[in-house]
Structure formats: C-alpha cells, structure tokens
Symmetry: C2
Subunit: 200 residues, 2 copies
Amino acid sequence: MAAPIDFYFDFSSPYGFLASQKIGALAGKYGRSVDWHPVLLGVIFKETAMVPLTMIPLKGEYSKRDFARSARFHGVDFRMPSKFPISSQAPARIVLWLKARDPALAVRVANALYRAYFVEDVDISNPEAAVAIAASLGVDAGEIRTAIGEPAIKEQLKREVEQAMAAGVFGSPYIIVDGEPFWGLDRFDQIERWLATGAF
Amino acid sequence: MAAPIDFYFDFSSPYGFLASQKIGALAGKYGRSVDWHPVLLGVIFKETAMVPLTMIPLKGEYSKRDFARSARFHGVDFRMPSKFPISSQAPARIVLWLKARDPALAVRVANALYRAYFVEDVDISNPEAAVAIAASLGVDAGEIRTAIGEPAIKEQLKREVEQAMAAGVFGSPYIIVDGEPFWGLDRFDQIERWLATGAF
C-alpha cells in the first residue's frame, strides 16, 4: 500500500483550514491516507524571519480578502475569527496526544477544532475551549486537560516542529507526497497530478 | 467594451514570467484585453519590508523547485537564470516607453524580454542586451537606448510603481479585474471564474 500523504498545518492558518477540508477527499481519490501533523508557525517563523501574512503592508489587506474569496471559491464555510492570529499550542497538543492513541479520532477532533475557530469564532488557543471541543467528540476531558499540561507532550510537540522544519516545512498548509513538497492550498492541482501520474 | 485586465509584473519574477505566458489567452477567452504594467519589486519590497523569495530560509529552496515544477505543470519553457534576481529597470523602461507609442509592439517586446531572461538566460538587466532584444523586433536601437537613459522615463517608471502600490500591488504577478485584485499565477483559476461570472 502507498505511503500516507504528510499534511502539515497550523491551527491558526486560514489556508491550512481550507486545505484541511479538502485533503482527505483528494488523498482518498488516489487510495492514500493522510498523516495529520499539527505544527507551530510561530516557532517556524522565528527561524525563517517571517511574519504572519496579515501583518505585512498591502499583503495583509489582500490576504484577508483572499481568505474569504478562496473559501467561497472552494465552497468551504469560513468566517475570519475576531481574534487572529492565535497561539496554537493547546489544539496542537490535543491532536498530537490523540494521534498516539486513536488516529481516526485525532483527525475528527482536528476538524472540529479547525471548524470551531474558522467557522464558529471559538478561541481555541484557550485550553478549556479546546478541551471542551475534544470532549464533545468523546475524549475524556479530565484526562486530556492533564495530558496537555505535562512536559512530555510539550517536548513532543517541540520535536515534531523541529522534524517538520528538517523536512523543509516553512508554512501552512505544507504537503509532502512521496518526498515531493507542496506549499499551499493552491498547489492542490499539482498534488492531484502528482498523485495521478507519479511525477511530472 | 469591457475594461482591460491590469497585469502587473516584474521582469525578474519567475511567476510573473509564467503568468505572462497565460494572461493573454485567458483574457482573450472572455473578450478582454490586457494592460501590461512593468513594476519594480525592489522598490515595492522596501515599502513592505519583504525580501526576494529565494533568499528566505527553507522557502528559498522550495521556491526554486516550485518555479520549475510550476513551469512543467503549465507547459511553459523555463530555465532558472544563472544571475537571479536582477534589477529590472532597463526592460521596464523599454516597455513603458514603447507602450505610449505602440502598445501592441510593447507587449511583443515584453514577451521577448521575459523569454530571453527565463528561457535563454540572457541578463536583461544589462541595458545593451535589453535594447538588442527590442531592436530585433524592429525598435530603433539608438532611439530606445537614448530614451531609457533620460530623466523623463525614469520619473515615469517611478510614478508607475507608486501608482501600482496605491492600487495595492505588493508582488508579481498581480492582476486586477474590474477592481478585484488577484496575486499569483495560482489565482488564475479564480480569475477565470471571476471573468466568467462577474463575481463569486
């Protein structure tokens, strides 16, 4: 069986959210599964001297317009959150912790967290809000609340981000298919051809 | 008749080159003409505190791979120039000067300049090389050589770049359709839907 597609994303990334709504169907069409990797762009941007899109002159205004237009273009519900960007440690740790225990549930929770932030305007940087979303999908609230405060998961997320950067990840979404890297929802057309043809 | 599509580009921009190979056919399909606007990203990046893609850690390596892959994906001849990026004053001034005299010739010369740089590896930042390309399409070499050294054209290009920034332009290619801005070759799918439907 072919290797999974690696899908790197930050919970604060609008294009990451849009991509999260499309990646499963695209992979499934070519018999592939998806390995979901939450990362922290805040950490990565320190290394690459980048700043969030919306803070760049001219580009910032354009980006906000493009988030909403791209959502309409791709038929995805989207509302710009009132608090943006946010630190995404809490949701990233939740998904990472669940991945090791129940990968399918981890993906359902990741989708619910992303949707809460980018559709329902829930501030998922708040650990209690993030825990409540996981709990609504059957995760034990007390257990996950304790887990995401422990040094082990913090350390694991730090390693995950380092590994992502070692693999070349500098933005969100970032997708690796059989070693070939693709940055952005707007490379899904190229990803599809790559999956269909093996290369081009 | 519908207004032309505004196409902003820098002669040193790989994605601008790829877009230049596609914009005419896309516009023509919807009965539109294209107004070609050479700009200077070097000037714009100073205002927006941005740096050329290829100089950003991780993103730089990815970009070089993506230029070539995107060219293959879109079926456009492309070779990464040995000198990159370059200052694009000379070709920009040539095109601007020709636009006021023979707009159709200006577009043919723009295409020839872009192709020389991104396919034949000619350093078009060299005024003599740029003049020779224009001359090969029938432009008087002596006249254009003199024109691009004069204060009038330098001042005009400066104003053009200021006007582009006032219109929101922060990158290349940047396309404005009936007031709606689109950044990047990878927004051509959205541009096409906008042209087809009037909005979405």
